[in-house]
């Protein structure tokens, strides 16, 4: 087919789509969220098991297109063992990468580099970001509730 299409559906991405990581349900869930892409109705469910501030295990279930499923799978792979602060940083880097901004990035993105092809398809950026925004919303909500608890106990 065409070059931009091959760039979008890179082999690594299609491999993640066919064999998505993080599909095992967790025994202990410390963080949970569901997200939806309003454009197409695609749905995602994310759960994290934490050990202190670090991600011990992750569950991602995505009903969606190749881009959103693969992106969720890559997310599951990369955030394991990372702190929530690191996860937030990675999400920021991915956001700016998809929006075409070159950021000074010291982070090792691994397979996530394969998402670069999405840049040429602006309507598909939402697909690639669905899992990340769902996760970040959950982290921010957790932080907000923690802050509220602290201020109410003060």
């Amino acid at each position: 087919m065409s070059e931009p299409l091959d760039d979008l559906y890179r082999d690594i991405l299609m491999e993640h789509f066919r064999y998505p990581r993080g599909r095992n349900k967790l025994e202990h869930v410390h963080l949970h969220n569901e997200g939806q892409n309003p454009v197409c109705g695609d749905e995602i469910e994310i759960a994290l098991e934490l050990e202190g501030e670090k991600v011990k295990d992750i569950y991602v279930s995505c009903m969606g297109c190749a881009i959103s499923v693969a992106s969720g799978s890559m997310l599951a792979e990369i955030i394991k063992g990372k702190s929530l602060e690191e996860v937030k940083k990675i999400a920021e880097v991915i956001k700016s990468m998809l929006k075409g901004k070159e950021s000074r990035n010291e982070l090792e993105l691994g397979d996530l580099e394969a998402l670069k092809g999405v840049r040429k398809f602006p309507v598909r950026i939402k697909c690639a970001l669905l899992s990340w925004t769902t996760l970040i919303d959950a982290i921010l909500a957790k932080e907000a509730s923690k802050k509220a608890q602290i201020s109410s106990s003060e």
């Binding site: 931009p4 559906y9 299609m14 454009v39 190749a66 697909c127």
Partner: protein, 427 residues
Amino acid sequence: MKSTEQLAVTKNISGNGNGFDPEVIRRDFPIFKRKINGRRLIYLDSAATTQKPNAVIDVIDRYYKFQNANVHRGLHTLAEEATTAFEATRDKVAKFIGGVKREEIIYTRNATEAINLVAQSWGQANIKKGDRIVITQMEHHANLVPWIVLSRKTGAELVYIPITPDGFLDLKDIGKIISANTKMVALTQMSNVLGTINPVEDIIDLAHKRGAVTLVDGAQSVPHLPIDVRAMDADFLAFSAHKMLGPTGLGFLYGKEEILNNMEPVVFGGEMISEVKFDYADWNALPYKFEAGTPHIAGAIAFGSALDYLNALGMENIRNHEKGLIAYALEKMKELDFIKIYGPLDSERRGGGVSFNDKDIHPHDLATFLDMMGIAVRAGHHCAQPLTRLFGVNATTRASFYIYNTINDIDALITGLKEARRYFKYE
């Protein structure tokens, strides 16, 4: 204001046996000269919006170049010309939907705004707790959300006419659903997802027997079927110009005069008043009391030209042409064992587009792939999320047709569907 292109079409119709040649029609649409991703444009998304012929585009251009003035206000030549042309389209619309009074045609921004006007004005005044609003499970969000909001505000119950697995309204319990306390029955004449043509006359008849008022969402049907709203006996009919060759930002509400007369406006300002004092305002007569503010004048005038174009082709001919395309598309798709079709398989009882899914490829991926071949289809829930969920999916792919589509377009789609299987390595 007939352009030469339009005359070419008219000539073709009178000179040709069955009178309809999409290849000739295509020449009137400049967008088909454009290449998409290096390919010939195959536009299969007319249910979202149709392309525009030169006859419409030229009128917009001409209006701003030579006629531009505000309507109903000025006494100068330009203002009078603009007003005459603007009001001429109202007459054309009144005639197009079966010969209603011009006072019964209200300019809106789109079908959505037309339905909201009814829900907010008529609905707020006439619906109360204990009443029932009946709609169907196949409504577009435009004919769904306004009623959800109204039922939430008033406490009235919202009851849905269900659909059968093959995509028809399930009318088995219709006598119970449209109960004695039903005040409004609002339904689409043609589903934007399934293409189903609903028996609106029968449902309206029953609704009237129960004393309910009826609204027909004609956004999909008016562009594709001959419409006689008086025979249909709908109290309200809503539709959009841009789905029938016209510009975006323009729609219509038809309403029976006696009902409109008893309704309060929901938007206030200039044009809609007869007298204003510092502490008092009285409403203008129909249709103006619902048309506050400067309307889409250029769009309205250009839409007159769109209606001329459709009339020249003939709505019967358009329906027959599309029926042929749908029958062909369904036949070809049925041969593909990896494609699941949603909605009725009988082209007599459906119109519009065909919704389908590849059993392995997500609609988004399929739409992106087809786009690279120059084929424009819609992928998603088509603003009918509850309906798509009913079929157990989040999204479908939709190919929809209009006057300029050909059998070749459908062949290209079928080829695209097969190639997508190879590209994504399912074959």
